[in-house]
Symmetry: none
Subunit: 415 residues, 2 copies
């Protein structure tokens, strides 16, 4: 089975945004065994869109259109697709209701053109939009399976995951099961070198390394006809892999470092507080992005200036004078004092140079992470990070999660 992806939107042709939807969909479709042969981008132009749709439908089994489902005049994907398969547009009550609710909730007047978003192609399966207003559509035409989804990734991605993917999988014969192993603190190329012979010998399951945001994932994918057998095959392969790189492993699936930390803290019944200098709240903002954070988190302090470190965190003048604020000693006092200040089980601290300019004669990327609460003494991890200001801050957060997860593992072992 093969597919083509058509992204609709003049902003793409003006180069104002990148067509990340095509990448996302291609990756997802590849994983469920659907080959993608062509990507097309056309503007909000009925004639050219109809033309591209015509061509794609002749070549592919599945044609996925993204974009142009909005309320404005230049959104004409639905109209063009309906004309293409000789159907009319009808109001979908469920969609109309969710749009009306949206405006009532916002206490904003609903302009008439928003009603347009509730129009769907007659006879199509409506794909619910879980994060926006415009519904998606799935329908069988004479030439191909036609799919329409909204353009904004934050609407399109959940729609694919929750609405389209399951329906596509019903179609294909053999099932595909995959397992994602997540690693941190090891580079992609190092991981690949360590597993080279396994990766070369792979047939079923396949082993695919995926890198991104300083993390490395391994996706094991097995084609099968029996789910239990599939699990057994995945277990075997995972054991071989973990024997070699297990020390860098931190979790499965789509759960990243920060969410994993939130889960493990909850599991261990440990509360945490943070004193952040150069990360300035990124840790606490990240940790609280997950439901029920209040069980493990009471608060944190963004101690950006030396004054705040001294006055509110009681870092000793002596320490700052002798070692500076970007130092092991400062990180140590910050972690211990924030733990006491918020009377939490664990205290974590971040002090470093985000850049672009050096500070206290220390280069951008120089950072110290302090962890108090597990042992008598406060643990401090020195880092030398690369990248721009934001990358340095994000990496520091990831390292802190990885260190905290390791300490939690050790701590659990002793309980």
């Amino acid at each position: 089975m093969n597919a083509e992806i058509i992204a609709v939107g003049s902003e793409l042709l003006l180069g104002q945004i990148t067509n990340t939807n095509a990448q996302y969909l291609s990756k997802q479709l590849a994983e469920i065994g659907i080959d993608v042969y062509v990507h097309t981008v056309v503007g909000d132009n009925e004639k050219r869109l109809a033309n591209s749709l015509e061509l794609a439908a002749e070549r592919a089994d599945i044609v996925i259109l993204t974009g142009g489902l909005g309320p404005t005049k230049d959104d004409l994907t639905k109209e063009t697709a309906a004309a293409f398969c000789g159907r009319t547009l009808v109001h979908d009550e469920k969609a109309l209701q969710s749009i009306t609710d949206f405006f009532e909730k916002r206490k904003r007047p609903m302009t008439p053109n928003n009603k347009k978003q509730a129009l769907v192609i007659e006879g199509s399966t409506v794909l619910t939009n879980h994060t926006g207003m415009a519904p998606g559509m799935l329908l069988e035409t004479e030439k191909c399976t036609l799919v329409l989804m909204p353009g904004p990734p934050r609407e399109m991605q959940p729609m694919f995951e929750l609405e389209l993917k399951p329906r596509l999988l019903d179609g294909s014969g053999t099932a595909i099961t995959s397992r994602v192993l997540r690693y941190f603190g090891i580079g992609e190329s190092q991981l690949e070198t360590d597993l080279e012979d396994l990766i070369d010998a792979q047939i079923n399951p396949t082993i695919a390394p995926l890198a991104g945001n300083g993390e490395v994932k391994l996706r094991l994918t097995v084609k099968h006809t029996d789910a239990d057998e599939a699990e057994r095959m995945l277990d075997e392969t995972e054991q071989l892999i973990q024997k070699r790189v297990g020390e860098f492993f931190y979790g499965y699936g789509e759960i990243g470092l920060m969410e994993q930390l939130a889960i493990q803290l909850k599991r261990a019944g440990q509360s945490i507080s943070a004193a952040e200098s150069f990360t300035a709240g990124m840790f606490t903002a990240g940790l609280t992005s997950y439901k029920g954070a209040s069980e493990i988190f009471s608060g944190g302090l963004t101690a950006y200036s030396s004054e705040v470190k001294e006055n509110m965190l009681q870092v000793s003048k002596e320490t700052i004078r002798q070692s500076g604020v970007v130092s092991e000693a400062c990180a140590m006092e910050m972690a211990e004092n924030v733990r006491k200040l918020f009377s939490s089980d664990i205290g974590v601290s971040f002090t470093g140079v985000a850049g672009p300019d050096p500070q206290e004669g220390k280069e951008p990327g120089t950072a110290y992470i302090g962890i108090a609460g597990f042992k008598e003494e406060v643990l401090v991890f020195p880092l030398s990070l690369s990248g721009n200001r934001q990358a340095i801050r994000e990496r520091a957060i990831k390292y802190s999660c990885f260190y905290l997860l390791n300490e939690l593992k050790r701590w659990n072992a002793t309980q």
Copy 2:
């Protein structure tokens, strides 16, 4: 004059990389007045590439191919393009020399397949590769102007800038200047309704609404032959627009709400501190993502639990008992007290329900933003936001930036 862009590479169809070349080229071409109507991505497959090339050549004046010029077997863009216009491939001495030099410099043996990179389509203008080995090509065919460039952006972009752009400019006469106006607190459809007649009447400049992340942008684009005249035309159109929706306008170009706030605070010489409950550090983390944040920001407090609000922010037990923590009264005390605590000019506070569950009987999305320092009394802005947990938090941050920018504007006016 119009163009089409064809990116060649199976890695694009597997979703391993994004097609950033199409975006870069589209943006560049728009600026020199060349319209791009279609982007296509095809794999390293001779038949499908030939097919796409055929179609593009029929539709467009210029067809730009990127990728597939490398030394390996699956690089077949040149071969396919040569066959398409019935020409042969010949060795380009200059290109061959630079490839030989490349290997000599690195003292690496030059494998025979690298010679392949010096092959160019006969009769084509060779576009020098300033950052790599594979040369580009520009040639006139019966159907269109054909351009071949390498796939790696670090090779393609300098080649466009230094080799292709000057040659294209000789062709086209007009230039394009555009101006982006940024708005917040108004929906795309509302904005378009308010400007409907202007948008309908648009010819030059054109007015294009772009929505994303709860913000709306208007891109005014003017085709011209004289830069000063262009600015005058843009000014005129902007004035017409601002008369109607100016209250929602907050800035120009690529600078978003948070960066705009950082800039304006610096400009006004005002320092700020934040007390964050449900946003838990997102405001401080965002504000400090820009260089030199220490000039305007000393610190903040993430007051997630009621205890922290009481003990560290001195929010009165009375307030919390009577109104709850998600209340106007609490937001007011949080803003004023954090301002004092960090002795900053301005104090901003965030309290609300991020969800997914209600809190104090208040629905997710219920939020209050407090701003202290501009007037005697603390300003409080109640919000009712929609979306998931993270969307609610992000929207609250955007609203706070917008409110702060408005207060700064008023404050500046009084200075």
